[in-house]
């Protein structure tokens, strides 16, 4: 379980998170939605300790992420994260990308790590791409590679930070499909997304973040289809307007 209590975060004088409370149960998929700058990506990076916090606490399976006494490198093995920019390691083949952390961090033998990597590449549908360099893969393939790389550490939780935002529209589907697969296998997931449709279909709960606070939280039906707060309604109206309609309305 991930328990986030009263988390506060500032970059210099800019306060990004103003006391966030959120609990993610085992096996749950929670989507974080909200406008750019609402703090959702920052919150995600706080969960695995990539960002320090100024107040509050985040507990992962009862272990405090930001406690200096915590072995953060060990804790991070429980928390896979996938970023908007795929961040594949460009000097390594797909297989080596996935095998690196099992070998270096989990101290598995070279052969074991490669077998584990191959298994995870197959899992995300890249079984035949092991020898390819990231530069030879499409954006969607690179993002699935990033998922396989995180999965190879056998995490208990997967964090997704706007993983489809940098993709060409026709490549979004294959990444979402992989995420649905993980969900069907019971993976606990926290997903920051602008994809309202994905949130509606897949999320057990949706949290709407607004100006550094959890403004509204509930099932997808509650938050997306019947939002109670005015900010949520406004955000969803803007978000669900198709780009073409915006163009039309600005021309008209």
């Amino acid at each position: 379980m991930i328990r986030i209590s009263n988390v506060q975060k500032a970059f210099g004088s800019a306060i990004v998170l103003k006391g966030i409370d959120l609990t993610v149960e085992k096996g749950e998929l929670v989507c974080l939605i909200g406008a750019s700058g609402s703090g959702k990506s920052t919150l995600l990076q706080c969960i695995n300790g990539l960002e320090p916090i100024q107040g509050g606490e985040i507990l992962v399976d009862g272990i405090s992420v930001h406690d200096p006494k915590t072995d953060i490198n060990k804790l991070r093995q429980k928390l896979g994260i996938v970023f908007q920019q795929y961040n594949a390691f460009p000097h390594l083949t797909a297989l080596e990308n996935v095998a690196l952390a099992p070998r270096v961090v989990a101290k598995r033998s070279r052969a074991e790590a490669r077998a584990l990597a191959q298994k995870n590449l197959e899992h995300v549908g890249l079984g035949d791409k092991g020898d390819s360099l990231p530069s030879q893969l499409s954006g969607g393939q690179q993002q699935r590679l990033a998922i396989a790389r995180a999965l190879a550490m056998q995490p208990s939780y997967m964090l997704f930070d706007e993983v489809t935002s940098a993709l060409d529209p026709e490549l979004v589907g294959e990444v979402l499909e992989t995420m649905r697969l993980l969900k069907s296998e019971g993976m606990t997931m926290v997903v920051v997304t602008h994809d309202i449709n994905f949130a509606r279909e897949s999320a057990d709960r949706v949290a709407f973040l607004c100006q550094g606070e959890v403004c509204e939280i509930g099932t997808a039906e509650e938050v997306i289809d019947h939002p109670r707060k005015e900010q949520t309604q406004k955000f969803l109206r803007r978000e669900q307007r198709k780009p073409l309609e915006i163009v039309r309305s600005s021309v008209a």
Binding site: Q45, N48, L50, N73, K74, R76, Q77, L79, G80, I81, F83, Q85, N87, F89, P90, H91, L100, A101, V104, V105, A106, A146, R149, A150, M153
Partner: protein, 223 residues
């Protein structure tokens, strides 16, 4: 053979001294390779420290870079050889040249590496740290391999520059290539012939470094 302006070339005397020159060249190659490795090993953490922009490690490496880049290499060699001697720390000329060239290499390489590190997206570090790698593991397995690809040309150039710097060994009595040449020509005063041949040997060593590093680059980066 009669050259221009009536200068008479005597090559046979150089030929006779060739074993001496080649022995000197071997010392030059040894120091070049050792100073290249030592300089690299020191420059890697110093470049990371320079990027931090604060702390004692940053200040230490900044001073190192300032001294090694902004003073003549010969001054640095004298500092290690005669300077330490003044404090009754006497080191052999071989060690003094090795230390001085390593010191000089490390300073320049730090700045070369720092430029390379700046070219690598910060997210690469986030990605490797998020997999549970420690900071040193991330640099060794993810950041430095990419950095070396970016800075490769400047890096090899520095290696060659370090090789040429070993010629200062002549000034502290080391029989590296220049020292050996100096010794051989002083007996015959065929300065021109000796230094022409020596320049050629330096050129060949530099080319050897360049070619072997290119082969290493292709093997490592599969390109």
């Amino acid at each position: 053979m009669i050259g221009m302006n009536g200068y008479q070339f005597y090559w046979s005397i150089v030929w006779d001294s060739l074993p001496l020159l080649l022995a000197g060249a071997w010392v030059t190659i040894q120091i070049t390779i050792l100073a290249f490795i030592v300089g690299t090993l020191i420059a890697m953490p110093m470049a990371v420290a320079r990027q931090q922009g604060e702390g004692w490690a940053y200040r230490f490496s900044t001073w190192w870079v300032e001294l090694s880049r902004n003073t003549p290499a010969v001054f640095q060699l004298y500092l290690f050889y005669f300077g330490l001697g003044a404090f009754h720390i006497n080191i052999p000329s071989y060690a003094a040249v090795l230390i001085a060239v390593s010191f000089n290499n490390a300073g320049y390489m730090t700045e070369i590496f720092r430029g390379g590190l700046n070219a690598i997206p910060r997210q690469q570090l986030s990605a490797s740290r998020s997999l549970g790698m420690t900071s040193p593991q991330s640099f060794i397995h993810v950041i430095f391999p990419q950095m070396f690809k970016v800075i490769f040309l400047a890096y090899v150039t520095q290696g060659i520059w370090g090789m040429l710097n070993t010629s200062l060994g002549m000034l502290v009595g080391l029989q590296e290539l220049s020292g050996a040449t100096q010794y051989a020509q002083s007996a015959s005063f065929r300065t021109f012939e000796f230094f022409l041949v020596t320049a050629l040997i330096y050129y060949l060593i530099a080319k050897g470094l360049q070619f072997s590093s290119q082969i290493a680059f292709r093997l490592i980066y599969r390109s």
